[in-house]
Symmetry: C2
Subunit: 343 residues, 2 copies
């Protein structure tokens, strides 16, 4: 026997003493095969260690056997982020139950974009999960029109895709702001995220809604960019423009960290003078001084549900969009029972 030649379906058929099509039927457990033949084929498969050739199958069935997780962003550094890693874990845990492979595309360069476009046009994947990280991404619209099944992770700012899974950014922001109201704050500011991202606008809306309901002024607003430095700058501006503020809802933990630093430098105690709530519950949030109250979102579930939704779609069914709940994680930056152990 030739050691390097791969085992083909023909080999299996020959070994089992059946026709190739019979063998094929068994492999794909299709009907119309007698139990005797089926067993013979199964044994041959086992003995020979047969594994179907994915390319050949893909060519014959016009199904690729793989889905892609595509992240479209301007800055590749966006992906060097635990968020992204967790999404992959969620996605993988679902795909592991299927025979689909996962391809990852980070579409940031022109070349990457082109490839993603071609993939969408020419159906080189059975489905696409797309997370578009910046506003007004042409890829997003292109994907929506493609006849490849596409599931969005998060919603682009400019339109609502048919199929998406999103965290409840608006609800989370409302939760955060309501919490600030509940602990007695009345002059509540916000540092928003980028307003060309869905998460940015949604969180801003949540802030506005909560204050409207409480009958409080929602005018203490500075727009940030989701970065730590940007959060610091925004906080400084906020202090300059609204020195009376007694709380701030910051649309991301990264920005909140920058804001905490600026508050400390300005001699403001947290939460004494100013209570702070962040968003995302990143690992560092437990370790800031003081630890950061924040909104936690189920990132792995996001990946999980995206994959599930894509499977539903590829199987021909029509899923409905999904919004995953967020929750408040209370820490010392809003509850002053123990401001700091060393105080």
């Amino acid at each position: 026997m030739n050691p390097s030649r791969p085992v083909t379906l023909d080999d299996v058929a020959r070994r089992a003493g059946v026709s190739r099509s019979a063998a094929s039927r068994v492999i794909n457990n299709a009907p119309h095969v007698s139990k005797a033949k089926r067993d013979a084929v199964l044994r041959a498969v086992h003995d020979l260690g047969y594994v179907p050739n994915a390319s050949a199958r893909a060519l014959a069935t016009n199904q690729v056997g793989a889905v892609v997780l595509a992240l479209s962003a301007e800055d590749p550094q966006v992906f060097a982020d635990p968020f992204f890693a967790e999404v992959i874990v969620g996605v993988t845990s679902v795909l592991e139950e299927t025979d689909l492979e996962l391809m990852v595309m980070l579409a940031t360069s022109a070349r990457g974009q082109t490839r993603l476009e071609q993939l969408l046009r020419t159906r080189q994947a059975d489905g696409v999960m797309l997370m578009s990280m910046h506003g007004d991404d042409p890829i997003a619209r292109l994907a929506e029109q493609s006849d490849v099944p596409v599931v969005f992770g998060g919603r682009p700012v400019n339109f609502e895709p048919r199929y998406y899974v999103d965290a409840d950014n608006r609800g989370g922001a409302r939760l955060a702001t309501e919490h600030l109201v509940a602990i007695g704050r009345r002059r509540i500011a916000t540092i928003t995220g980028r307003m060309d991202e869905g998460a940015g606008t949604a969180r801003y809306k949540g802030y506005q809604e909560a204050l409207a309901v409480a009958g409080l002024d929602a005018g203490r607003v500075v727009h940030g960019d989701f970065t730590e430095d940007g959060g610091g700058r925004a906080m400084a501006e906020l202090l300059a423009r609204h020195p009376d503020l007694d709380a701030v809802f910051v649309a991301s933990d990264q920005m909140a960290i920058g804001a905490l630093r600026v508050l400390k430098d300005a001699g403001k105690s947290v939460p004494g003078h100013v209570a702070v709530v962040g968003f995302n519950d990143i690992a560092t949030a437990r370790h800031t001084a003081p630890p950061l109250t924040t909104i936690s979102q189920p990132i792995q579930s996001l990946g999980h549900e995206m994959a599930r939704m894509l499977l539903t779609l590829t199987s021909g069914d029509t899923p409905s969009p999904l919004i995953l709940p967020t929750r408040l994680v209370q820490r010392a930056s809003t509850t002053s029972t123990i401001t700091a152990r060393s105080a």
Copy 2:
């Protein structure tokens, strides 16, 4: 024209008025095509928006057109980690220049392991980058014997693969320990990582070497498990067994965070009583109290170089293994110039 039928090479050939093989030659820019025909084909490709069918090509050439990044670990949560995300970014940035797709496999379940094994046996990828996160992984040995090109990220504890990219864990640990010596500490302990991981043993070795060179006792050792809680427990044990210690090299930042907490609870000041150095330079390290001196490793480069090495291998050349330098990042947990701003 049929709107949904994909454009094939035949379409291109017909449009350009040449044979299919001529068109194929142009596409793969092979020789033996007149300039006139070449141009005609190119134009047809452009006009028709032709993109080759990857499956068909794979079948014909017996090359898949994809490489896989496989992470083998016992606990899927290992991947929900920025480390992993950064490696992917590094890998992708290289692959983007080629025509290779990236597949990601998280081999943690039995099913995932099996798939990875089959992939290795049946050559369903043009190459594999394997990061094996736990000791004595059968996959690692299997991979090493496979005739699919395999590059390791990090070295398994039990053997040295032919092709690997690793961070200089040993050197980094030496750096960390030497730093503690340099700032005048003499009773330097360590909390090691898991000793069934390459990084765990290598960092322990580095610690030992540095102390040997300095002529100091390297007996203050407790083995940890790379987790925050484990680090806390190990620190407690260290304090119990060696109450005289004046410094500790902790083999990961996560463990160091646990250790810092235990030190504080025990009333030990950092770095006053005990200086602390971590490893990895995770994002949180800047925000602990006090900020953590640590060893930073070039994670994106790791991914980058793994991909490069794999390309070298697939092109038939023989690369040599690579060890990437680490560096010391000095923060307040070892330098007491300003212990704490609020002090």
